[in-house]
Subunit: 349 residues, 2 copies
DNA sequence: CTGAAAGCGCTAACAA
DNA sequence: TTGTTAGCGCTTTCAG
C-alpha cells in the first residue's frame, strides 16, 4: 500500500488548511474563487483522490448507489432485457461521479422485505433506486421510514421521487397501431392487476379503441402472470372463445407464450392475428416472427433515476418529484404491417 | 440519523475494551473463546453492524467486490445471457457476507485500460473480478501491479488466480455429439483467435474428430467476430465452398447468424445441417429452431470466483490457483437428434 | 490475553 | 473567508 496522497498534501501544496481544501473541493460557497482554484489545481497536480472510506465515515454518506430489485434473482435476469438496459443507464449516470453502482437483489419475492431492511440499515448506501411496480407496499413504508435517499422506478401512490413510463400512452400507442391497420377485434393480454403498468396500459388500450370508435369489451381483456406458460394457457383458452384479429400483449415474455398458443390453435401471427407487445428485448427481436413492441427506453429510466437520486443525495433537490418517459413503437413483423422486412428493427440503444 | 450502535456499545455490554471486542469479532486467534462468546453475544443482542466506512478507513480494505468487464456496456448486455448469470452467481456468493457487488464496465473496449486504472486506485474495491478472455494484456499487467486482490474469469498466461471453463472439453463435447449422430462433415465456426476459449474449443473440436477417426480439415475451420452479421457472412461464403452436414459454433450469437445464412442458402437446420453451439442463453432457447448448446454454468463461474476472491481478501488464500468448470450439453432441436421435442430443454438455472 | 491510546483521512464546528 | 480542533467508528500498535 504505497503512500497515497491525502487532503493534507493537497492543502499543503495549495498553502491552505486541510479543512479549507475540503471545503473548496466540495464546492462550499464560502471559499474564495481564488483559493478554490489553487486547491483544485493542487489536487489535480497531485492526482488526488479522496479516500472513500474516510469520506463515508466523516460525512455519513456512502459513495454507493444501490439498485434494489425486490424479486428473485432468477426472475430479474430472465430473458427480458429490461434490467440489463436499466443497469446500463444507471451505470452510465454514475460513472464519472463519486458514486458507484451496487446491485442488491433478493433471494425471492417474499425475501424482499427483510432484505431491504438490512440493505437500508447496512449504511453501505448513499442512495437507493428501487424497482417497484405497484402503488403501495410495506417496502415503500420501509423506505419512507429510513433516512436513505431513494427513488422509485414505478408509479407509487406517494409523495416520493419516482421515474416511470407513461404506460397509458404505451397502451394507447400499441393499440392504435393495430387499430390503424384495420384490425377491429383487438384483445388485450394484460398482466396482474397489482402492477400499475398493467392497469395503465389497459386504460390506454381502452381509450385508443374508443377514440377510434370501437367498443371496449370486457371479454377482450385477458390476464396472465408474467411467464410464458401462463400466457400460453390464457390465450389458448380465450382465443377459442373469442374471435380476434389483433392482440396487444403487456409484456414480451407473455407475447412469446401468446404466439405459441395462437400457433397451436392454427392461427398464424401476423396473418391471422396481428400482435404488438411491450418491452423491446432481444427476445422480441430474434423471435420468429419478430415481435413489434413498444420500447420503454429503460436505459433512460435508469439514467434519469440515478441522476435525480444523486442530486437528492447532494442536497440539490430540485422540485420535480417525478419524471415520465414515453415509449416508442418498434415495428417488426408480428403486427403484419411490414411483412417483407425481416431485419428492419431499430437496434436497441 | 438515529444513534447507531458502535463497537464501543458492544464492548461495554460485554464488559471488555473496544479493541478486544474488535479482535473478538474479527476472529483473531488470541482472544479467549470465553470472551469471544461474550462479545459475539453482545453484538447479536444489540444487532451490531460495523460501520463500513470506518472499517474501510481503519483497515484499508473496502467492502466491495468489483466486477470489471473490459468491454463496451452495450456488448456486455447484448442478447447473450452470459453476464446475467455471472452476476447472479457473484451476487449470491457475496450476499450474506460483508461485501457487496459493484459493477464496473467500460465505455468501450479501448476505454478499458484507463478505466481499470482508475478503478484500481479509487480505493473503493476490496477485490476485483475481471472477465478476461485472452492470455495476456496490459490489463493484467495493471492488475498485477496493483495491490487489489483479484481473480480472472478466463485463462490468463500468468500465475494469477482464475476461474474458467474447460473449453477444450466444451469443444469436444459439442463436436462429439454431432459426430456420434453420424455427421461426418462437421465444420467449426470459431471466434477470434485472441480468445483462449476459441482456440481451446478448436482443440476440443479437433480431438473429438480425430478420436472418432475423422480427419481434421483446416478448410472446415472458420472464424468470425462475435456478432451475428459477421457469422452470417462467413457461413454464407464458406458453406457454399464446402459441403457440410454438421456445424459446431463457438457462441450463441454467432449461431443465430449461422442459421440465418444456412437458411438463405436453402439449407435447413437441423435437416440439412445439424448445429451445436455454446452458451445456453435465452436466445438459444427461444430461437426457431431451438439451439442445442453447451451450458457453461456461468452462475458457478461467478459464484466460485467471488468465493475464492473473498478468501483471498481475508487472507485465507488456499493454494488452488485456478478452478476449472465443465460444460454440459443441452440438447434442443438444432442438432437434429431430438426432432419431435419442441420444448424439452432444461430451463436455464 | 486484554486494555489504553493513537491514528486511518476526511468533514463539521467553532474561532479567529 | 480561513484555520484550528475534534471527532466519525473502527483497527492497530504496544504496554500491561
Amino acid at each position: 500500500m504505497s503512500k497515497s496522497i491525502t487532503i493534507k498534501d493537497v492543502a499543503d501544496r495549495a498553502g491552505v488548511a486541510a479543512s479549507t481544501a475540503s471545503d473548496a473541493l466540495n464546492g462550499k460557497s464560502h471559499v474564495t474563487e481564488e483559493t478554490r482554484l489553487k486547491v483544485v489545481r493542487a489536487a489535480e497536480e497531485l492526482d488526488y483522490k479522496p479516500h472513500p472510506g474516510a469520506k463515508h465515515l466523516s460525512s455519513g454518506v456512502a459513495q454507493q448507489i444501490g439498485l434494489f430489485i425486490p424479486a428473485s434473482r432468477k426472475h430479474v435476469f430472465s430473458s427480458t432485457g429490461f434490467f440489463n438496459k436499466l443497469i446500463q443507464g444507471i451505470h452510465e449516470a454514475v460513472d464519472g461521479t463519486d458514486y458507484s453502482l451496487s446491485l442488491r437483489m433478493s433471494e425471492s419475492e417474499t425475501d424482499a422485505e427483510p432484505k431491504l431492511r438490512s440493505v437500508l440499515d447496512s449504511r453501505t448506501l448513499g442512495g437507493l433506486i428501487i424497482t417497484h411496480p405497484t402503488e403501495n407496499s410495506d417496502l415503500l413504508d420501509l423506505l419512507e421510514g429510513s433516512d436513505v435517499p431513494h427513488i422509485v422506478l414505478g408509479r407509487p401512490k406517494r409523495r416520493t421521487l419516482y421515474v416511470d413510463n407513461d404506460n397509458v400512452e404505451v397502451g394507447k400507442l400499441a393499440t392504435e397501431h393495430l387499430v390503424n391497420h384495420g384490425y377491429k377485434r383487438v384483445a388485450f393480454l394484460s398482466g396482474p392487476d397489482r402492477f400499475t403498468y398493467a392497469t395503465d396500459r389497459l386504460k390506454g388500450y381502452r381509450s385508443a379503441l374508443e377514440e377510434k370508435g370501437l367498443t371496449y369489451r370486457e371479454d377482450f381483456v385477458w390476464n396472465s402472470e408474467l411467464v410464458e406458460s401462463a400466457a400460453y394457457d390464457v390465450v389458448y383458452k380465450k382465443a377459442q372463445e373469442n374471435q380476434i384479429d389483433g392482440l396487444f400483449v403487456a409484456g414480451d415474455v407473455q407475447a412469446v407464450g401468446a404466439i405459441h398458443a395462437l400457433r397451436d390453435l392454427g392461427k398464424n401471427v401476423p396473418d391471422d392475428v396481428a400482435l404488438v407487445s411491450v418491452v423491446n428485448s432481444p427476445l422480441t427481436e430474434h423471435f420468429d416472427p419478430s415481435i413489434t413492441t413498444v420500447d420503454l427506453h429503460e436505459y433512460w429510466l435508469g439514467n434519469w433515476a440515478a441522476d435525480r437520486l444523486i442530486q437528492e443525495i447532494e442536497g440539490e433537490g430540485r422540485d420535480k418529484p417525478k419524471v415520465v418517459i414515453p415509449g416508442d413503437l418498434i415495428v417488426r413483423r408480428s403486427c403484419g404491417c411490414n411483412p417483407k422486412d425481416k431485419a428492419n428493427s431499430k437496434r436497441s440503444s
